[in-house]
């Protein structure tokens, strides 16, 4: 407001400090890819990591992949350990995540317009250059990427290669999700419990540095919980509950609790090849997600253990959460919601898979050291005794999976019980968004710090030293 302009004055032409370039922060996970500019408080582009694959190509993005297309298959470039497996798809997916909402896509005329009409190409040389240009989509933004702490060296180099070579980013850095979770909570020293889709991991962070030996993880993340929900529904009494996803339901009639569903199934046009099973499974997962949001709850009673007495207490009707499935079937769930969460703490509460199902092989009952208390214990036993109290005083809980009601309180109880002589303090943001995007927010903070600029791997350095510089620089 310094300069007053009257309606007669013509403002001066631009003189702005145009040299500040904001870094792009990319936080790829198993269930979604978060992308945005450093310094912002939430990622502006959130894309599911799942993509639709048909004979005509790949489709990325919410809603687009939910359309039942002919013979469509839903895939994910990331495997059950949270590590990238399909680099082709991952690169395309990540590029989509920032190109479509942030940096923009440069239309590749060579592909869209001129492909079948060579005569219309105005200048072949220029067209070729343009076509290449669309590949180099990040030329103006340094790229900050996150990775799980257990990422392999080869994968890290591959990330650098994509960023600096294919996307032509001017600079690059890889940060660990756990560390970023600590930064998001504003703690340089913390024990980060990250509840991801594939893994629940415990990462000790000291002065902003990861203590690699202490990183523990277990396959009890969101996907495990979904698998448990499936087991629960399959074992439901008196009849097993099958999930009919929304896209298969044309309309439903209200039925009373526990009564069989009365719905009209969707009819697809004739000669329509139904989507592949993976599509249905992906749609079922959405129903399960809603189920988890509605029903799951952690047992936070310090006096009564859940198994046994608590289970009976929880059976009371006031704790029941009704859930209606897309086909209209509905039923209250009370003790089940507690038990599902309890199985992350106590392998005995595991819902066994129905016979003949492969859920059991993929998601077995967690071993004692694979439960949440087990992970924390194993992690702390790997770090110096002196810093353990600092870590326990800053237990950061992050990740979408931690949004289960009462989970932070439950962890507080559990850890206080395990370490009665130490003060345990839990840092869990009350804002769902901050926990969902914890590692992205941490990345956004770190990448916008002025002091961070010397950490970047510049393109030049990369060209000089090769990909191995990632191992040296991003520790």
């Amino acid at each position: 407001m310094a300069t007053a302009l009257t309606s007669r004055d013509e403002p001066k032409t631009a003189e702005y400090a145009g040299d500040e370039v904001s870094a792009l922060v990319l936080d790829p996970g198993f269930s979604s890819v978060r992308a945005g500019f450093a310094g912002e408080d939430t990622p502006k582009s959130i894309v599911p990591s799942f993509y639709a694959s048909t004979s005509s190509g790949r489709y990325f993005g919410d809603h687009v992949i939910d359309v039942p297309r002919e013979d469509v298959e839903i895939k994910n470039p990331i495997n059950r350990d949270g590590i990238v497996e399909d680099w082709d798809a991952a690169e395309a997916l990540w590029k989509h995540s920032f190109a479509h909402k942030l940096t923009g896509v440069r239309p590749n005329k060579a592909l869209t317009e001129w492909l079948n009409d060579p005569k219309s190409v105005p200048d072949l040389q220029k067209a070729m250059a343009d076509a290449e240009d669309t590949e180099r989509c990040l030329e103006e933004h340094p790229l900050f990427m996150t990775e799980p702490a257990w990422n392999t060296a080869k994968n890290r180099e591959k990330c650098a290669e994509i960023a600096l070579e294919s996307w032509a980013a001017p600079a690059f850095y890889l940060g660990r999700t756990g560390v970023m979770g600590a930064f998001a909570a504003g703690r340089p020293t913390a024990l980060v419990l990250d509840f991801g889709a594939t893994q629940v991991s415990v990462t000790p962070v000291h002065d902003g540095m990861i203590l690699k030996k202490g990183v523990m993880r277990s396959n009890i993340g969101g996907n495990y919980m979904s698998s448990q929900v499936r087991n629960l529904l399959a074992a439901n009494e008196p009849d097993r509950i099958t999930i009919t996803p929304h896209y298969l339901v044309q309309s439903k009639q209200p039925v009373d609790a526990g009564q069989p569903a009365n719905f009209v199934p969707r009819k697809f046009p004739e000669a329509f090849t139904a989507p592949q099973p993976s599509f249905r499974r992906y749609q079922e997962e959405k129903v399960i997600l809603e189920f988890k949001e509605t029903v799951l709850q952690a047992w936070t009673n310090p006096n009564t253990p859940f198994r046994g007495q608590g289970e009976v207490m929880a059976r009371e009707q006031q704790y029941a959460h009704p859930f209606e499935f897309p086909d209209g079937y509905n039923q209250p769930f009370s003790t089940e919601g507690f038990r599902l969460v309890e199985s992350m703490f106590d392998g005995q509460c595991y819902y066994p898979p129905p016979p003949g199902s492969e859920e059991g092989a993929l998601y077995p009952a967690p071993e004692p050291q694979g439960t949440i208390p087990g992970l924390v214990k194993a992690s702390l036993s790997q770090v110096d005794v002196d810093i353990r109290p600092f870590l326990l005083g800053n237990v950061v809980i992050t990740g979408s999976g931690s949004l289960i009601r009462g989970l932070p309180e439950r962890i507080q109880l559990e850890l206080s019980k395990m370490y009665p002589s130490t003060r345990v303090r839990i840092q869990a943001s009350g804002m769902a968004v901050e926990r969902k995007f914890g590692s992205w927010i941490g990345g956004s903070i770190v990448a916008s710090l002025g002091t961070f600029h010397q950490m970047w791997i510049s393109k030049k350095e990369y060209e000089e030293h090769g990909a191995s510089i990632v191992e040296k620089r991003c520790k």
Binding site: H100, V255, A257, Q297, Q317
Partner: protein, 693 residues
């Protein structure tokens, strides 16, 4: 900085087809004063653009100074090195003299050759008298262009009619051709001839990238030298229009649809349906054309069919007369009650009349005339023709109304005219789906393209279509669901992605459907019915007695005997043991549900006082939706209740005016709602991201 004045605010809302613009905020907010077709024509040089098509004269002279491209030299400080043709062809300046009182730079209007052709429709532009104006337009254009041709002595002439070669810079919301887009903006700017101290509010498409925002910011500041600029998301403007902070905004456009959950005036980026392809009006046109392919339907015919009142999307559960559509739900009850009758009619339909309709020559029902029945013609020309655009937007309703008027007139005067008869039937078809007359007549205009002359443009013929006209929302081949299904799915997904679970039921109860794509008959009811039948939770004993009943709600008392205690479910609650159907009391009770609250006690936890009498505990974590409601349109804008406006499809623009008033006039930048010139000089284009909105 002196405060901004209402009359200086410039609002621009770009869309794939129409870019709405307005200078100044009126006392009571109106529909957009100008509607520009979002298209430009390539000029004589690359990266030069003209608002009308120019074409070389058949006998070319080496004329160096053709009026169409000889405007002032283009601005050289265009961003990104794109030499945007900011200047307008002089003839266009004359054309676009939409409101004579405004100071269009008169020096730019030496060539008045097209003035007769274009100013007439344009100057009649105020949208509210669209119907009359549309009728009166008919007299003007056909003879005007030849005059223009005669007077033009240059190598190039303007072709006011052709849209051939037009470049639409925005496709599915995305800006695909920047130089063209900027040329369009310059064109609009020049039409407005705004003052310097002019704050600008831009309605941003949701799919625009941060980079796009920066480019536009740079363009606006550096080319127009404005003092303040605000870029507001289209979904937010809808919320401003309806005056609700939390709403689910469904914006159905031309090539795409945006589904946005807005919570407390914040756009939710998670799960947002951004530019969902093949969900707009164009997809429905394409579908109509496809199902009518055997009848040799062109896209234009399909488009006009879509806008006509006989085209309709039927809600789920309503069978199309023939019962072959996949869109209509096979609701057994509906089928049972109406099916027999329908099939009888259909049999006749299929066997008798339908086949005969296909090879209909132009002769049948053709009229060459000035009769103001159809104004769609005017859309096809490139002239700045506000009236036609208005007409286009309201075409469906206008046609419907005109049909009715005509029917009344016909009935009164002619009486016996077959025309009148048909129209009476048509009105029946509007009202009663069950007793459809399968023969419907649709006036279709067919521009004579053979010789490029403007004769015979007014030819009309009537084309009958069968039940295909109900199939605009049915799935395209290779896709399992139609437009309505996809949008419904997207709505559900957008709500479920909102992290704050407690807000979800509020979202479901604040649904806003807007966008000109939703003008097709039956669109909104059909979408609502799909949402209802597919997503609304049924009231059942499980939901009623365990979830959301507010504690101050008195438990309904049923007749003794139906009160059977259920073991393990708490003794004294009401339970309806019937296997099917739901206790009407439950239905009544669930309708009265209120906002759940967040607190849920945990069993046996010390301190949680559990009153054994209270069995109904509020939760913030229960499933949604229990009900779906549309937001009631604000009724304090009389201009929006004008019959020619017809609904709130363009409420986004109303919201933009409200927002401009709030941001520029009321708030004056205290909450950083806009980027000022001095901030821009400091921060550059990226400064736009710091603005609150």
């Amino acid at each position: 900085m002196p405060p901004f004045k209402d009359e200086h605010v410039l609002i621009i809302a770009p869309g794939s087809q129409i870019t709405a613009a307005q200078l100044g905020l009126p006392e009571s907010f109106t529909p957009p004063r100008y509607r520009f077709p979002t298209r430009m024509f390539p000029g004589t040089k690359p990266d030069e653009w003209e608002p009308v098509k120019i074409r070389p004269k058949p006998t070319p002279l080496p004329g160096p100074a053709e009026p169409t491209s000889s405007g002032e030299p283009g601005d050289t400080d265009q961003p990104n090195g794109q030499a945007t043709n900011g200047d307008l062809p002089s003839s266009e300046q004359a054309n676009g003299h939409p409101v004579p009182s405004e100071d269009v730079e008169m020096k730019e209007a030496p060539a008045g050759e097209e003035t007769t052709a274009a100013t007439n429709p344009a100057s009649e532009a105020p949208p509210k008298d669209t119907p009359q104006q549309e009728a009166s337009q008919q007299d003007v254009p056909p003879d005007a262009p030849p005059d223009a041709d005669d007077e033009t002595t240059e190598t190039f002439e303007d072709d006011l009619w052709s849209t051939e070669g037009a470049v639409y810079p925005i496709r599915e919301g995305r800006i695909e051709n920047w130089s063209c887009f900027f040329a369009l903006l310059s064109h609009i700017y020049n039409m407005m001839s705004p003052p310097f101290h002019m704050p600008v509010l831009f309605v941003a498409q949701p799919c625009w990238t941060s980079r796009d925002h920066e480019r536009i910011t740079q363009f606006v500041f550096e080319t127009w030298k404005v003092p303040a600029f605000c870029l507001m998301d289209a979904a937010l403007t809808a919320c401003y229009a309806y005056g609700v902070p939390t709403a689910l905004v469904v914006d159905v456009g031309h090539g795409k649809c945006d589904v946005t959950a807005v919570t407390d005036f914040q756009v939710n980026d998670i799960g947002r349906g951004i530019a969902i392809p093949d969900c707009g009006g164009h997809a429905m046109t394409k579908r109509l054309q496809q199902v009518l392919e055997s009848d040799a339907f062109t896209e234009d015919m399909a488009e006009q069919l879509k806008r006509s009142p006989i085209c309709e999307i039927l809600p789920t559960g309503v069978e199309v007369p023939q019962g072959i559509s996949n869109d209509a739900a096979p609701n057994p009850a509906a089928a049972a009650s109406t099916g027999a009758l329908d099939s009888g009619i259909n049999a006749k339909d299929v066997d008798g009349l339908r086949p005969g309709q296909a090879p209909r020559g132009p002769g049948i029902g053709t009229m060459v005339g000035e009769e103001g029945l159809n104004g769609n013609e005017e859309e096809n020309d490139g002239v700045l023709d506000v009236a036609a655009i208005v007409a286009r937007d309201n075409a469906a309703e206008l046609l419907a109304r005109r049909e009715k008027e005509k029917a009344e007139k016909a009935a009164a005067k002619k009486g016996a005219a077959a025309d009148g008869l048909k129209i009476v039937r048509l009105r029946n078809s509007e009202r009663e789906r069950a007793s459809f007359t399968y023969v419907d007549f649709l006036p279709i205009e067919e521009p004579a393209t053979t010789d490029g002359e403007q004769k015979g443009r007014k030819r009309k013929r009537e084309i009958e279509v069968g039940v295909e006209r109900f199939m605009a929302g049915t799935p395209l081949p290779g896709v399992g669901e139609g437009v309505i299904d996809t949008i419904a799915e997207a709505i559900h997904h957008a709500v479920l992605s909102v992290p704050d679970i407690a807000l979800r039921s509020t979202l479901w109860e604040n649904l806003i459907i807007l966008g000109n794509g939703s003008r097709i008959r039956g669109f909104t009811p059909s979408l609502l019915s799909v949402l209802h039948t597919r997503y609304v939770l049924s009231p059942s004993t499980a939901t009623i007695f365990t979830s959301e009943l507010p504690s101050n709600f008195t438990t309904p008392v049923a007749t003794p005997g139906t009160n059977t205690p259920i073991p393990g479910q708490g003794g004294h609650t009401l339970h309806h043991p019937g296997p099917h159907g739901v206790n009407p009391l439950l239905v009544a009770a669930t309708k009265n549900m209120m906002q759940p609250n967040q607190h849920l006690p945990v069993p046996g936890q010390p301190g949680s006082v559990l009153d054994p009498g209270i069995h109904h505990i509020h939760r913030g974590f229960s499933q949604t939706p229990n009900s779906i409601k549309m937001v009631k349109a604000p009724d304090y804008f009389p201009e929006w209740k004008d019959p020619s406006v017809h609904g709130m499809e363009e409420a986004g623009f109303l919201g933009a005016q409200v927002a401009a008033k709030v941001v520029f006039i009321v708030d004056q930048g205290n909450s950083k709602g806009f980027l000022t010139r001095s901030e821009y000089n400091e921060l550059g284009p990226t400064g736009i991201h710091d603005c609150a909105i």
